[in-house]
Symmetry: C3
Subunit: 249 residues, 3 copies
């Protein structure tokens, strides 16, 4: 495989977030792009990172499918060294069992990290249905989650038709409530067709919310005591989706 990213922006934003959730990243490269689907070790959160062919300047793989498995910490160490605007090449060196990462900025650097052995592990994406979809300013939802993290360890969502979302953090002594309705700055769109109530771990939400750098909009889908769907789209090139199991409050 040899693929070229036009710059390192998306990598620098997304790799650290994914590395915070999983230790080994299995990237499956096909003609439809590169896709990573993984559960975190506690099986509470799923991350789906899809890089469409449009995300690359050039894109060549060997055969129909190539599996690239690397340590996410290794990948994060290198990605942190990349400069935002420098072109980046991923190239597999099957002989040396290495993933070469070429940084083509003012200084031409060639990094390499080990390709990890192992068969393709299929991680099925659950088929989920939602009747409530809320598009929020991604910085706003990040602010709410960060604020709430000083108060409680879980965040309660209450959706009220047709267009109200109440987010609540209840700590031992302190509380925070946010009401989001149509027309507010933080709300891009809000469509609540059925009442819903669910509670989620703030620790995980804080990790996901860092994707506010990836996209201006965060798409939330929720249902009573049902996994939360949280989606970020990077231009029309990549999507980053988190699915988080509810807490039984």
């Amino acid at each position: 495989m040899r693929v070229t990213f036009p710059d390192a922006k998306a990598l620098k934003k997304i790799v650290p977030i994914v590395a915070d959730l999983i230790s080994e990243g299995q990237f499956v490269a096909t003609e439809e792009g590169i896709k990573l689907v993984a559960m975190d070790p506690a099986s509470i959160a799923m991350v789906i990172w899809e890089m469409k062919p449009e995300a690359f300047i050039d894109y060549t793989i060997e055969g129909d499918k190539e599996i690239i498995t690397v340590s996410m910490d290794d990948l994060k160490t290198i990605v942190k060294k990349l400069k935002q605007r420098e072109m980046v090449v991923w190239e597999t060196d099957r002989e040396k069992n290495k993933l070469k990462i070429l940084a083509r900025g003012t200084i031409k650097k060639t990094f390499s990290i080990p390709l990890l052995e192992g068969e393709e592990t299929e991680t099925p994406i659950p088929s989920l249905e939602y009747n409530n979809v809320v598009e929020l300013d991604s910085k706003a939802i990040k602010e709410i989650i960060d604020d709430a993290s000083a108060i409680a360890d879980s965040l309660k969502f209450k959706a009220e038709p047709p267009s109200k979302l109440i987010i609540k953090a209840e700590g031992e002594m302190k509380e925070m409530t946010v009401e989001l309705t149509e027309g507010e700055d933080a709300v891009v769109s809000i469509d609540i067709q059925e009442e819903a109530y669910a509670s989620y771990s703030i620790d995980y939400l804080k990790k996901f919310a860092k994707a506010a750098d990836v996209s201006d909009i965060a798409i939330l889908k929720l249902k009573t005591d049902y996994p939360l769907w949280l989606e970020y789209r990077y231009l029309d090139k990549m999507t980053l989706i988190f699915i988080l199991a509810p807490r039984s409050d």
Copy 2:
């Protein structure tokens, strides 16, 4: 009580400073505004925080006097989450024994922290008289105190009529001396009517000096072996006064 601050600037600057000195804040609200007077646990420093009615957009209290006692750490946790420019409302909920803090920025957040029980504790302000008053650039005196803190743990002040203030830090090996006289950039006004010599803890001075963000001018009043008076005025809306016991060097 329901009072509205036009923005969170003063709160964000002052609450952390006061929280660094005392754990419980007793705010006394009367028609003359809200006032906090407290001694630090070691009884070395007194802090007087006065918010005049002009500090509020609207100001309503129940009866002649309302006592609002809260954990300063709780208040600091919430105040740190406020955005500088967002309007802030404090509202007492006596039924739930809570102080509600409403942040009215792009996102409407409602925080609440517990109101602590207990009678009003009167903390008498000592009547002090000074013949030496120095108005300094608050950033300059902060710089001097911060510099001195790398050298010694107490700061010596020597006032020489009619207009010289010498500040000295003498560490085991290192020393620092600053002479401030009329006409220098750091000196707004200096009126020394009697010689004075006193020494104060740099730890406390460093905590007070953070108020350099509150006001451009710091007003010092001092006398030989006598409490130091250090006053900061936030517009014409609030005053923050520290009284610090001298050290017996």
Copy 3:
């Protein structure tokens, strides 16, 4: 001795770097300026800091030679308190055995640190000869060294005539290779007359590379299994030279 620096910029950049290598700094002042030559405690690195007379606004010493020995940590503590643009005076007070450091900014501060006893210790500078000289953008070489530090603990240099320098970091799992040739942004000039291969400690290189703030250009001289010469020139007023023993990889 009484010498006046036009500003604190060079001091603020260089003192912390030298203090990171040696604990006591012996400055020898003669009519040719002030010079410090020292080995680090492990005798792996030599630092030569030369301040020419042009580095000073005024420059007076007692006799032909004056020795000023101070704790570099003391000097660093004070230098960190100086403001970039304020004029700085060094003045020896032989009676009190102090080096006075006068900061002449908006606030006139007088610091003093102890002058340490002891005779002049001569540290001979090895006479070294090189046939390979590379002038690099100092920020670029710093970036390469910083990147490499996440990967390995030694950095391999390979010079190939007439104008190629390969820098390689080989960690247990990860690798980084950089090829620098004439014409690239990072290369100011490159003159390789003989093949050379040597490896050096990244810890030391990271300490030296902080001098990227001192000068835009870093001058490297290297030879197979031979000390590395790394020179930074501050305007035409000061030179900072590091000589680093090779590693026997």
